[in-house]
């Protein structure tokens, strides 16, 4: 052939050779260099991990009464790959959804695989379940599963203590992708959130082989690599179910908070913020109406008043002033001030009575303002703040659940910043009786009472004692840091004596006196420029061997002795008698009667 055809032969040989070499290089790249990547995709293709969600840990109270458990509920789900969207209309109607709701849910979830079922509605009615069963042939891709939701069998609300779980937010999902999957439920607040890692347990995985249509065709490696799920830890709370229930009952229809603490341990026995909200509403699908209603409630039920609301402590703060003064030695138990109905420092500060001459014990008993006006000028603001910090004020207590506020106790530098070096010293007078620029939370008040009741020693307040050890059946206790104040031991005797007399002497809360157990306490009334004063009471009982310290705050109620102290008494009673008082009296009566025993009341 001609010369040009030789050229053409070379060109064709060249093309053949180049194509083969390119193929070889490409194959080397895919099969040798990137083999791992493709191998992973390949295994992921054919091996499907099916999540086994374990039971969430339940909550027991300190008496091992079940407070929060799991109850089965039906969830309707749709697998988009098999689903026919023309069913939207029927399902919307069956599920009481507004038209287009299902289309919306599907649209939101279209970023996930079409073969992963999407939860449409939790807690569906049994009627809907039977309808699904009957019509399953006409409902491709629609089915239901049984899932666990929270139940509250003891009859306590515990809304701000327990908290609730909800579907993981995209933001949190991004942060914790290695454990959670979209649609998982996570603790949103309260104990559910704080102890999420303990409660959720450990997901298990069952590995199955699937074909290209994701149809299961067998176990992977005969189930040898499967991982069993591990049940969440069952928490034992420090909460006393009876005290909590009584506290909730007593606060019904009121705004405010109750916190009760065991002085020797820092264990929270009851924690109530009122108004509460119904956790059942959050246990499955939360309706929009409910959310609107709760968000628009002027009383803001979602707000945890026990740890977040800030009020002046009023006269309950006098205990701290007394402790500080005695400990510093600026007064002793015999130091006497004369009360003629008020105190003059630049201007006149009045007392609610003319108490005459009294020492610190009786000053507490009578809640004499004049005594404490004098005292604050002896102590000084900086010293008062130092003691306040020791008692947990002006900082977060570090309670193991949820958000809390730090509050404010002012010192000299605070006023220097505002008014300069010559700030008006007259400001100090009202601070001495717990009014003015001073704010504390109910939790801080209860904690401070607990420390005082236990002579200066307690533990960081907490609502969870520990968890049940499934192996031994015993309780594994959690450890919490100890609190020790520098206040001298002997000082407490006088202060507590004063508190004893408040109830048992001629004090401001004599009407809650009880023969069964001696309550000691201190009333307070926080001035409220926006409305009626807030009623406060702190106290502990029994006096000789304190088992419970309590703080009660009732907003816009008026005088503390009248409105807060009786509530405290009810809760104390309920706790010390393990619920055998008031509420449960009838119950117990019938119980014991049925066994033929005679009741002596």
């Amino acid at each position: 052939m001609s010369k040009i055809s030789l050229n053409r032969k070379a060109i064709l040989f060249g093309v053949l050779f180049s194509v083969s070499v390119i193929f070889l290089i490409r194959l080397f790249q895919i099969q040798i260099i990137n083999q791992k990547t493709y191998d992973e995709i390949s295994s992921g293709n054919s091996v499907k991990a099916i999540e086994q969600i374990p039971f969430r840990g339940v909550f027991y109270d300190r008496n091992l009464n079940l407070l929060v458990d799991n109850i089965p509920a039906y969830t309707l789900q749709i697998t988009p790959a098999d689903y026919d969207t023309s069913l939207n209309k029927i399902l919307d109607a069956v599920l009481d959804f507004k038209e287009g709701t299902i289309a919306n849910i599907l649209l939101r979830n279209r970023i996930y695989s079409k073969y992963v079922p999407i939860r449409i509605k939790r807690g569906i009615d049994f009627k809907v379940v039977s309808w699904l069963e009957e019509n399953s042939n006409y409902l491709p891709g629609v089915d239901y599963i049984v899932e666990m939701q929270r139940g509250y069998p003891f009859g306590v609300m515990g809304s701000h203590v327990f908290g609730y779980s909800k579907e993981i937010s995209p933001k949190q999902y991004q942060l914790e992708k290695d454990y959670y999957r979209p649609g998982d439920y996570v603790g949103h607040n309260g104990i559910e959130k704080a102890y999420e890692v303990d409660l959720r347990g450990q997901k298990g995985f069952k590995y199955v082989l699937v074909d290209s249509k994701r149809k299961e065709i067998g176990r992977y490696k005969d189930g040898l690599v499967d991982r069993e799920s591990i049940k969440g830890k069952d928490l034992v709370l420090s909460i006393d179910g009876y005290a909590q229930r009584t506290a909730e009952e007593e606060m019904k229809g009121k705004k405010g908070a109750i916190v009760a603490i065991e002085p020797a341990t820092g264990e929270i026995l009851a924690l109530v913020s009122s108004p509460e909200y119904d956790l059942n509403q959050f246990s499955y699908v939360t309706t929009k109406e409910f959310l609107d209603q709760i968000n628009n409630d002027p009383n803001n039920p979602l707000f945890n008043r026990a740890t977040m609301s800030l009020k002046p402590p009023g006269s309950t703060f006098k205990i701290l002033a007394a402790l500080a003064a005695l400990d510093m030695g600026v007064i002793n138990e015999n130091t006497v001030y004369h009360c003629g109905g008020g105190f003059t420092f630049g201007r006149f500060f009045k007392c609610h009575d003319s108490h005459g001459s009294l020492n610190v014990v009786h000053a507490i008993e009578k809640s004499c303002n004049t005594f404490f006006y004098n005292l604050i000028y002896k102590i000084g603001l900086n010293n008062l703040k130092r003691y306040a910090l020791e008692y947990g004020f002006s900082k977060k207590t570090g309670i193991d659940i949820g958000e809390e506020a730090a509050g404010l106790i002012t010192d000299e530098s605070y006023y220097e910043k505002i008014y300069g070096k010559n700030w008006p010293r007259s400001i100090m007078a009202s601070l001495g009786i717990g009014q003015g620029e001073i704010s504390v939370t109910p939790l801080q008040l209860a904690y401070y009472t607990a420390i005082t009741a236990n002579n200066g020693v307690s533990y960081k307040p907490h609502v969870v004692k520990g968890y049940l050890d499934n192996k031994t059946g015993g309780i594994k206790n959690l450890e919490f840091p100890i609190t020790k104040t520098s206040v001298k031991k002997e000082v407490f005797k006088f202060v507590k004596e004063g508190m004893f007399l408040v109830v048992n002497g001629n004090g401001t809360a004599t009407h809650i006196r009880s023969n069964e157990f001696k309550i000691a306490g201190k009333t307070g009334t926080a001035q409220n420029p926006h409305g009626k004063d807030h009623a406060l009471f702190i106290g502990f009982a029994p006096f000789e061997n304190p088992k419970i310290a309590i703080a009660v705050v009732v907003e816009n109620a008026g005088f503390g002795g009248t409105h807060a102290a009786p509530i405290a008494k009810k809760v104390i009673e309920s706790y010390l008698t393990k619920g055998k008082s008031d509420l449960n009296k009838n119950e117990m009566f019938t119980q014991l009667n049925s066994t033929g025993e005679v009741i002596a009341d």
Partner: protein, 409 residues
């Protein structure tokens, strides 16, 4: 005259051995990839049957007189055109294309048979003594011979086969000595028509590029003008056709041009094919042990995606074996074509080389993600009776020509 009884003179082992090995690899992989699929469990036996039939076909064609091919070229071409027309009327639709003719229990694709007929016809025409590849008349005649079947196949519509035809006709013309200018003239309508689908800007750019190349290669204003006008008209025509198509058909074209636009369709296959090949590693997962293959991740992988099964189960070693076997086979046919002094036989062998090479290029290229997915089988390896038989016929022709090479011109 001394007769040389050396068997190497009668049979070209560089052709026969690669074909035998590729067919065996094909049988093994068909067995493995269809074993778990209840719908295709007979495919291995069917293929085995065709292999045996093909073997006898080879023996017959290998030993018939070589001049037979030239004699039958015109009748077989006419017959092929008739079959291609027939299939448009009474053809069976398989995966969107009306490309199968039922023949008793067996179906076959006329386009497969038309490959051989077109090669022979074109070689015959181009090897006539008075043929002048530089004359417009002869070029147009050659193109007409080549593109009548292409047009008919496009009507089925079978994109894969059309592309194969287009390229092997081009390679035959190239071998004959078609000038670069004419090569461009032949290729340009395809390029311009395709660019019209991509939008006005791409269309105009391709026309400008064409104009520049034409004026660099040729000074004849009238010629250039006609070529340009033809391209322009074709571009508008393509655009017009595209716009009157149903959205469903448009989607198919778009998916063809850009597989990622349809990830669950063609794109899915492309990705799963790469995964199958890549996960094979150096030695592969072993016979019957590739999970992509055994779990049917790749649809129809005993046909167009058979290379995945080989690569996954026999690894890099397996896949380079296939590549090298094709290199030897194709290189050998090319060499024989170049050494043959009879122009008809040389062109015929180039045609055979071209058909096999384009299949190999497109099939392996699409599996390893170098070119878009086009449904084309891998010769000798993929499952499919008519494809295997046509390939074996072509190989037999090449082998026959080798046998009688010393008697030729």
């Amino acid at each position: 005259m001394r007769i040389d009884y050396n068997i190497k003179d009668k049979i070209d082992f560089f052709i026969v051995i690669p074909v035998v090995l590729l067919t065996l690899i094909g049988l093994i992989s068909i067995y493995s990839s269809t074993y778990n699929n209840p719908l295709t469990q007979n495919n291995f036996e069917k293929q085995l049957y065709f292999v045996i039939v093909s073997f006898f076909l080879f023996l017959i064609i290998h030993f018939i007189p070589t001049n037979t091919f030239k004699i039958i070229s015109i009748p077989s071409y006419v017959f092929a055109i008739i079959l291609l027309l027939l299939v448009l009327v009474i053809g069976k639709k398989v995966s969107g294309a009306k490309s199968w003719l039922g023949l008793g229990v067996f179906g076959f694709q006329p386009s497969e048979f038309a490959k051989i007929a077109t090669i022979l016809m074109l070689s015959n025409f181009l090897s006539r003594t008075n043929n002048n590849i530089d004359s417009i008349k002869d070029i147009v005649s050659a193109l007409t011979i080549g593109f009548i079947p292409v047009a008919l196949i496009l009507l089925e519509p079978d994109m894969g086969s059309s592309i194969i035809f287009f390229f092997f006709i081009l390679i035959i013309l190239f071998w004959k000595g078609l000038s670069v200018l004419w090569l461009i003239v032949v290729i340009s309508p395809g390029v311009v028509a395709l660019s019209a689908i991509f939008g006005t800007t791409v269309f105009i750019l391709s026309l400008i590029l064409l104009l520049i190349i034409l004026f660099l290669l040729n000074k004849d204003l009238f010629f250039n003008g006609s070529v340009f006008a033809l391209n322009l008209a074709l571009g508008f025509f393509t655009d017009y056709i595209y716009n009157i198509l149903s959205p469903h058909q448009q989607a198919r074209i778009n998916s063809f041009l850009d597989p990622s636009s349809d990830p669950l369709g063609t794109g899915y296959n492309s990705i799963q094919a790469m995964v199958a090949v890549g996960s094979g590693g150096l030695f592969g997962k072993g016979f019957m042990s590739g999970n992509q293959t055994q779990l049917q991740y790749i649809p129809e992988q005993w046909t167009d995606f058979i290379f995945c099964a080989i690569s996954e189960e026999f690894g890099f070693i397996g896949s380079i074996t296939v590549i090298i076997l094709f290199m030897i086979l194709l290189g050998r046919i090319l060499r024989n074509a170049a050494n043959n002094r009879d122009e008809f036989l040389s062109l015929t062998q180039i045609g055979i080389f071209a058909v096999l090479f384009i299949h190999f290029l497109i099939n392996v290229g699409m599996v390893i993600g170098l070119i878009p997915i086009i449904g084309v089988p891998l010769p000798f390896v993929s499952y499919g009776g008519s494809s295997l038989m046509v390939n074996v016929i072509m190989i037999s022709i090449a082998s026959n020509i080798y046998r009688t090479r010393k008697n030729q011109a």
